[in-house]
């Protein structure tokens, strides 16, 4: 097995046993990037020198006998909406094309302390608004399972990098599905932690009450190891939770007997691709055979989640994105008056989807519409939270499909925003409720595309989600799922 094909947990072992050096590990991923990145376009900025530099520091410290973190020397890719000091951070937007953050996000600082080399900043939908990476101002990323298809989004570049062996781990961000949906479309494990579990300091804001940084990985164990690094209270983000962080890896070997599993009726819908639902049901059958108690549960408010989300998220975005005015940072279009400058800068600097969301949000918050739209959406959010609270009185976890279909084709939905929004239909209510939500691979479709299954637990029960994911991995025994990347000129790599 080549180095770049290893999981993060295996790399950690190889490094700790000194069977490989971090420089060798990083070089293996850099070689892989050189070979296939031109076809997949998962990065916006590459940082090979930084990565090798960190790797050699880690190698020297290890050689000196220092006790290092298990992930020291294991490289990572980071979504390009997470601030990296001195390193361009674009949010895949023209308006931040040349923005150099003057500080590190808290998660980035932590990764540096641990000694994880950064391979680069990954492509995404502009300002994390989208479900395919086609809204990137630079270029779309391609799904390694089929280059004609989208990898999902908005953390699509992070998913592509991990799926194709260009990085063993990645950070993404999830507002309404932006980690789970691309993880599902690329056959990966994607965790949106409980709101407040991971610091958002330095994550460029889209919708502050929903944004959450999380992990994209090949396995549940890899996700647990990375969660151990990034979770916890942060003085610089007053919405972080002060509850102690468990060692997430200890949950992985636990059994699932008597686990109460609720199958969300709305998320195994007859309207979905039947193969997607069948794959979910097959995994549920496996849980049942192994002693889990499975029952169906209806969350009727799921149908209203999309409406509430597409008022709340754009409203918060319209406010958050007010800062891009050409004064303190970013693109500036010039203008005679300050108003001209603001409007021209924003008109030329933002792409179509970002403009759409700013318009929806501005409308929903404007005089005369506030009560009927934004306030009503916030009340529906309360009702959705209550519906979850009631469900978690009966069940330990809730399950369903992550996405209604496997990866769709590039250009298929880009001209129809509403159809694009519907690809996150299963992900949105978990975000509104603020609960942890995990997408894991459920199987491969007859068309050769991965499909995903979403597991949801009550706040701070990430360990429970990882336990079930780990159990299914062991039972099925075919992870990690790896595509053969078929090159357009022929051949597979």
């Amino acid at each position: 097995m080549k180095i770049y094909e290893q999981t993060a947990a295996n790399l950690s072992k190889l490094l700790q046993n000194k069977e490989v050096s971090s420089v060798e590990v990083v070089q293996s991923f850099l070689d892989r990037i050189e070979l296939i990145e031109p076809y997949l376009k998962s990065f916006i900025t590459h940082t090979p020198a930084m990565a090798l530099d960190m790797a050699s520091t880690v190698d020297n410290r290890r050689a000196g006998g220092e006790k290092l973190h298990p992930l020291a020397g294991v490289p990572i890719a980071i979504k390009d909406n997470i601030s990296t000091r001195g390193l361009r951070t674009t949010c895949a937007s023209r308006i931040l094309e040349n923005y150099i953050p003057p500080y590190d996000a808290t998660v980035v600082e932590t990764l540096k302390q641990v000694g994880m080399p950064l391979l680069g900043k990954t492509n995404m939908d502009e300002f994390a608004m989208g479900s395919s990476t086609e809204n990137s101002a630079f270029y779309p990323s391609r799904n390694p399972w089929n280059l004609e298809r989208v990898p999902g989004g908005s953390s699509g570049g992070s998913a592509v990098a991990v799926s194709s062996g260009m990085a063993p781990l990645a950070l993404g961000s999830d507002t309404g599905g932006s980690i789970r949906q691309p993880a599902s479309l690329c056959g990966l494990t994607g965790l949106r932690p409980t709101y407040g579990r991971v610091s958002r300091y330095g994550l460029i804001a889209f919708a502050s009450s929903l944004d959450q940084i999380g992990t994209i990985s090949l396995t549940a164990l890899d996700s647990a190891m990375l969660m151990n690094v990034i979770s916890g209270y942060d003085l610089l983000d007053s919405t972080t939770l002060s509850e102690p962080v468990p060692d997430y890896t200890i949950f992985l070997d636990e059994g699932i007997k008597k686990l109460k599993v609720g199958v969300i009726k709305e998320n195994v819908s007859e309207d979905f691709d039947p193969e997607v639902t069948a794959a979910v049901m097959k995994n549920i059958a496996l849980l049942k055979e192994s002693g889990a108690e499975v029952d169906e549960v209806s969350l009727p408010l799921t149908d209203y989640g999309l409406g509430a989300y597409y008022l709340i998220a754009p409203s918060e975005a319209s406010s958050n994105l007010g800062r891009y005015d050409g004064v303190r940072y970013g693109f500036n279009a010039g203008g005679e008056s300050i108003d001209d400058m603001f409007s021209a800068t924003r008109g030329r600097g933002f792409g179509p989807e970002v403009k759409r969301r700013i318009m929806i949000g501005t409308y929903a918050l404007s005089a005369g519409y506030f009560d009927a739209y934004y306030l009503q959406a916030m009340k529906v959010r309360t009702m959705i939270r209550r519906e979850y609270e009631a469900a978690f009185k009966r069940f330990d976890i809730l399950v369903g499909a992550t996405t209604p279909t496997p990866a769709f084709k590039i250009d298929e939905k880009i001209d129809d925003p509403l159809q694009m929004y519907l690809s996150d239909i299963c992900n949105i209510t978990d975000s509104l409720a603020g609960v942890p939500s995990l997408s894991i691979p459920s199987g491969i479709s007859s068309g050769g595309l991965p499909m995903g299954m979403q597991l949801t637990a009550s706040p701070l029960k990430e360990g429970l989600l990882l336990k079930v994911a780990g159990f299914l991995e062991r039972e099925r025994g075919h992870l990690p799922l790896r595509p053969k990347v078929k090159l357009p000129e022929g051949g597979e790599v």
């Binding site: 209203y304 940072y329 403009k355 009340k379």
Partner: protein
């Protein structure tokens, strides 16, 4: 009932300080109308006596001691300024004066 959004687009774009060309406005009117039709479905729900959720974490106000802490240097704060003059961000006139009058 669909909302005719074409009349609203100019007004909302002005509120959002967003220059849109005529093609964008036309496209936007149709798309926003579709999206809001879907979003408005939440108005079917009876939310009488339901408190709004603005935030899922119900934290009390977070306080700290009123002491100075290290912050970014002026140079780093200004490093991304598209237009800068000494230690200031430079912008077009906001008081009806022309820029020469406020030059120094």
């Amino acid at each position: 009932m669909a909302i005719d959004f074409s009349k609203e687009v100019d007004y909302v774009a002005r509120l959002a300080r967003l220059t849109l060309d005529s093609e964008e406005k036309e496209l936007m009117a149709g798309q926003l109308s579709d999206i809001l039709d879907t979003a408005r479905r939440i108005q079917e729900l009876d939310t009488t006596a339901v408190e709004p959720t603005s935030h899922v974490v119900n934290l009390p106000a977070v306080l700290r001691e009123d002491v100075t802490m290290p912050s970014l240097t002026l140079n780093r704060v200004l490093q991304n300024a598209p237009r800068r003059q000494k230690q200031f961000f430079r912008v077009p006139s906001i008081a009806g004066l022309n820029s020469e009058e406020v030059e120094e």
